[in-house]
Point group: C2
Chain length 770, copies 2
């Protein structure tokens, strides 16, 4: 909620199309106090963007690093106090008509701003830009203060169920995850979390530029429109240039400017389309808009990228035909992404915070993680509603690398109320978010939030927050699909473990019998790599893992369930009690790798009814001991990452095996497939399935595969072998495609029997590159 002490320009500034940053850097100090009006006892240097916790940690010599053992608990007291940021600056030389603004892309979460002791702004919400004209209140020497209120939290907590600390966030638009999750410590962020500076604005200036377009049905023609808003336009002129992905100018317009918004229209024939990863190039055009004076001298310029594409969320193939008993209920919700008139199989992951303290995330951090996603053949990231809406650079990089974005609003696993005050803040935040993010070619889906239609949240289609979000998205960005939450009807979340003792079923079994249109969360946990474990667990606690040590604080044990996320009983069921840290890590990572490989490939085998596979979760915000993630904090790849990447290759040979553990004399069978998510036609192929164990290799079957059409799988015969006696506990089923080794696959399974020797897969298994 914004109280408009200064009514200036805020609405026009929601979506700055790559505004040239002309900011005057500010040097901040920070202090804390118990009441809103009290003065801090002392001031410490502050880093902005950042977080108050990190400033106090340095200023007061807290134990470091903050992520080691239980050091994060040092921050707990900060939730309930006020913080003040303070900075001083001399009034800059302002030319005639120039004005000085304070501009911030994000302050977390509820705050008041004072200039020379006078309140000039008040806001609740971290996603709405702050833009205040300070000119009228300037003195020669100025003091600017930002007073942060204590973090919002409802008063109740379930002492016996710490996971429900998230309820604290139930009446705010603040990401729920920082109140504690089963893979996130309680550490409620606060402070200046995105670019913030003073800005001098000229008397003639652009306040916003946006480029929109409509494509004709067969995508051969774009009607483009540039809307420019600004001040002092009349009497001046513009030039607008559009350059193609190779930098060649394909469109040029110029003319005189009138007041208000300028709508300039043009047509582009045969646009090079923006395609998601795996389906072509993510072509981006560059729009350059120049504000020029009557003599055509450039006064200001705005540049932004434009990707031409059409994205729809359509019914899954064959889902209309799914049989139901009378009385009939509705068909499943559409869950198949169509990009540029072609269905894609959406492969990817659930993106969470790359850092607990989101203010410190840089474009470089985003880039290194998104590049890994691109390299894993991912084309879709679901930005989970428990976390933030990322900074601009995140979307710029996704645009560039062809990664589609499913963006949720900051609601997760809570019953957000129909209360006017909450709805007012959420509306402000949602409008800011939509206006900003809708400009990006990568934006594929809006979603109200995470698991809101499940019992642990308790929201419904009638919840006012969700109807309002749907309406806002419809009003501001009608062409982008909107879903109330994930899962909607037909989509599945879960399971999150290799073996579920309550139903006595392994991942190989529950996943093969599942029938969902999209799997948008599923996981198999594995430990972090040994080096990562050593970086935050005190040496004495490393092995064996115990409760009340860093293993527990870092989510290895007792996370909502007794066994998560180490899953020691499952480990012991297959491998016995772990004898060393090395054994624990290697077998745990084997289970994660084989389990996730099965789920991704099975989801693809279920195409076309199934259209999507996104594991829970991609990375993590601090180092966990064991977790469902593929990448450890800060950016360390776990072995499962490589196996998932292999399972997401556009074309591969794949088998469905009925279970993980085998014994001598059992009849082993596996169903053979050639999976094709690409739009290439795949020719004839000779595919051989072999059993590799001890030092032996036995052929099960050769399939003369006739090839397959674009975007179609083909199922082959079922291979069989009677399991022989083996000496060691792991064996491999290898699937080889003659002359196309890039389609090969391999699956490591478990042999159980008397006097079996424990072995690990070779080193390459844990650092696997195709």
């Amino acid at each position: 909620m914004i109280k408009r002490f200064t009514l200036y320009a805020i609405l026009n500034l929601m979506c700055l199309c790559s505004a040239v940053s002309q900011g005057i850097e500010l040097k901040w100090q920070i202090g804390y106090h118990k009441t809103e009006t009290a003065q801090p006892a002392k001031w410490m240097p502050a880093v902005a963007p950042g977080a108050v916790q990190l400033d106090v940690m340095k200023g007061e010599n807290y134990k470091q690093p903050w992520w080691f053992a239980d050091n994060v608990r040092q921050f707990d007291w900060m939730e309930d106090v006020y913080f003040t940021y303070k900075t001083s600056f001399r009034k800059p030389q302002l030319q005639a008509g120039e004005r000085l603004f304070f501009f911030s892309r994000g302050i977390d979460y509820q705050f008041k701003i004072y200039l020379n002791g006078k309140q000039v702004w008040e806001q609740e919400g971290m996603f709405t830009y702050v833009d205040i004209d300070l000119t009228g209140d300037l003195q020669d020497n100025n003091e600017l203060k930002i007073v942060l209120m204590p973090v919002p939290k409802l008063g109740f907590q379930y002492e016996d169920n710490p996971g429900l600390y998230r309820s604290n966030a139930r009446e705010s638009a603040k990401p729920a995850v920082s109140y504690e999750w089963d893979w996130h410590p309680r550490a409620v962020t606060r402070g200046i979390w995105d670019e913030t500076s003073l800005v001098v604005r000229k008397p003639v200036r652009i306040s916003d530029v946006s480029v929109t377009y409509t494509l004709n049905e067969d995508l051969t023609r774009a009607n483009i429109r540039l809307d420019a808003e600004g001040i002092g336009f009349p009497g001046n002129t513009f030039k607008w240039i559009l350059k193609d992905p190779q930098g060649k100018t394909v469109l040029e317009k110029s003319g005189a400017l009138a007041s208000g918004t300028q709508g300039i229209e043009s047509v582009l024939n045969a646009p090079a389309l923006w395609q998601p990863n795996g389906y072509g190039e993510p072509n981006l055009y560059t729009s350059e808009f120049y504000l020029t004076d009557a003599d055509h001298r450039i006064l200001e310029q705005r540049t932004c990228k434009v990707g031409f594409r059409r994205i729809r969320l359509i019914m899954n193939e064959s889902a209309w035909q799914a049989r139901q008993p009378m009385p009939l209920t509705r068909a499943t919700a559409p869950a198949s992404l169509e990009v540029n008139n072609r269905r894609i199989f959406a492969k990817g992951s659930n993106w969470v915070h790359p850092e607990v303290f989101v203010g410190v995330v840089t474009p470089e951090r985003y880039r290194e993680q998104i590049v890994l996603a691109r390299n894993a053949h991912f084309n879709l990231l679901r930005i989970w509603g428990g976390g933030i809406v990322n900074k601009e650079s995140f979307f710029d990089i996704c645009d560039e690398l062809g990664i589609l974005v499913w963006q949720e609003f900051p609601l997760a696993c809570n019953e957000y109320p129909d209360k006017p005050k909450y709805l007012e803040v959420l509306e402000q935040e949602a409008r800011s978010i939509v206006k900003r993010v809708k400009k990006h070619a990568c934006l594929a889906i809006w979603s109200g939030g995470n698991e809101l239609f499940n019992s642990w949240s308790g929201m419904t289609d009638q919840s006012h927050a969700l109807r309002m979000l749907n309406s806002i998205c419809w009003q501001l960005d009608p062409q982008t699909p909107f879903i109330y939450t994930s899962p909607v009807y037909g989509i599945g979340h879960g399971h999150y473990i290799f073996y579920d003792k309550t139903i006595d079923r392994e991942v190989f079994q529950w996943m093969a019998s599942a029938k969902r249109t999209a799997y948008t969360e599923f996981g198999v946990p594995g430990t972090a790599n040994i080096d990562v474990l050593k970086s935050f667990i005190p040496a004495n606690d490393l092995f064996p893992p115990k409760r009340n040590t860093a293993w527990e604080i870092h989510h290895g044990m007792g996370m909502w369930r007794e066994d998560s996320w180490l899953e020691l009983p499952t480990f012991e069921k297959y491998f016995g009690k772990p004898q060393s840290l090395e054994e624990l890590v290697q077998y745990s990572q084997l289970l994660q790798s084989e389990g996730l490989k099965f789920i991704y490939e099975e989801a693809r085998r279920q195409k076309p009814y199934c259209s999507m596979a996104l594991n829970w979760c991609y990375q993590e915000p601090w180092p966990s001991a064991a977790n469902n993630n593929l990448i450890s904090w800060p950016n360390v790849v776990k072995p499962a990452y490589y196996h998932v990447a292999a399972a997401c290759r556009p074309v591969l040979a794949s088998i469905r095996v009925p279970k993980f553990e085998w014994r001598e004399g059992e009849d082993f069978t596996c169903d053979l497939f050639l999976l094709n998510d690409s739009y290439d036609k795949i020719g004839k192929a000779k595919i051989t399935v072999t059993l590799q164990y001890d030092e032996t290799e036995t052929e099960l079957m050769t399939w003369e595969c006739p090839g397959t059409e674009a975007f179609r799988n083909i199922q082959g015969p079922t291979a069989h072998i009677r399991i022989p006696r083996m000496k060691s506990n792991l064996f491999t089923i290898a699937v080889k495609v003659e002359g196309r080794s890039e389609y090969n696959s391999a699956y490591v399974l478990l042999y159980a029997g008397k006097d079996v020797q424990k072995r690990f897969p070779p080193k390459e298994y844990y650092d696997f590159r195709l």
Copy 2:
């Protein structure tokens, strides 16, 4: 879509709060022509409101009555021609500042209006009021013309599947039903269909009054707000009086008026709440707003009814706990109506057109049918999206009689496209509909339309029409629940027959194993009464029923399926070939009565998981030979009506029987319940179950029922008897409650065996009153 040749006042006039009708009646003539600009060859008298078909029928001496045999086919040619309404009037005496308007509450469907040869209006859409200031174009003698375009229809029809004629309506906001349904002839209505007149408006006048309120959480206090819009307000005064249901003034305010909208606020403590039928009185307050001059003389007055109530659509009890396999999808959508903080069990029916030619429907027609609904203990009518949004008097009567209304927009069983032109018309119509209907206490649910999320429609949550309707309802009427369509997830539609040979199951079986949160369409067909049949079937064709006679034209045979709606194979399965019209009608009506009784009672037995039962359908727009309806056209009660009314009593004893047909020696069982939908606590009761056959009565069981809490059923023991040999083919299970005969129930079942004599139930069965 409105083209604004006259930009006047249309938006302000969407919702007239019981405007005093000061209309100048017009005498219309009508003619038809093949091109838009051609002149009719002749003019005939026209009745308005009415329909062009009825005027031509009279003017050109068509065979009458139009509903007899296949006379309705005489109208077919009219779809593709233009019609013009014409009227003349002398310019009335206008006092200083007065203006003359042409005002219509509805013209069906696409038209242009000319005054003295000059086009003054153009509109597509029958639900948006027309309001045109004619003053500037008036001459002494004036001619007003309304030119109707041919009916909108897409060019394709499936010749082999006549039911799909409805596709003709796929790109318009015209009710789809008139393009033909399995119980509605093709007869596409057109013409002036609601009140239409000239109106003289004073220089000082009210253009709209609306009364809104918010209730506190426990409903003990209403903050009321009256908004008045008008012209010439400054310098004048107002008086506002609110009278309670007994006519006593409970609130009075007066003051000076400023320009623009006047928002007048007040508070009412302990409002007498509007309660739906079966849950208390439908209390209505009366708001009287007087526009007065500086000397407090009354210039104009507006009166409207206000019912204070809170309606929510909430999760069904226990639905959050329903078990699902992993991966989990969402929980069911909420389908339980809560009125004034209490859940109700919603009982009712699907309302269709009371007339093919909706223009002729009068308040009296509405009232007689709504009174019957009230008498049947109904509290909810679903206004099916294949038909119209009813005239104002419909909602007034529902307000008065405590009947909740589920109002659908005019979309049904089609894939309405994401096309801008269609969406523009739909938006205009939806805004008009919402602004008008939201003022009524009876309005409980908005719905996008009928069966849009099923394969035969092919729309989804992403369809632009539905997202737009949701957004419009959210913007204009956020407190009223909105669902995209019926069924949404968890709600069921079907079945529509007593016995389904494709699954070999009777209504008793499929319904008992169903598990839906709400049954919002279900049916069992029965023939019309003999007198009704004789009114439209030529005597020679009455028996036996044959194809290509009035039996078929009037939906008895070959309606989408070979057997609907006579269902002769089902009839013959139980009763053999019908020997007479009397036998056909009586057994058919027996099947309908017992089948519907079972479904309503079973839905109630499934409470609390189930919360709603609405049969398909309530009435019909012309006489059908056989149909799922309860009331034959024009208003003749079928026997099933009485049995449904009995099944909907707030409290009754009820049994679940496993099947309809029994043989000697079989073990008959039935589960016994005492059903209570009221908020009364029911005391101890002695309940006896007996078998009545031939002249014998045998007791199966007596249950000493301990009584039951408010709004809770109680299940008793299961009764048993071995079926004895019987002489006649029908027997009865009677359930009697000692001292509370109003809770008694009886069920007629079939006995099959050798030499069994056919009998009918007694006369009272077909004219049953409790």
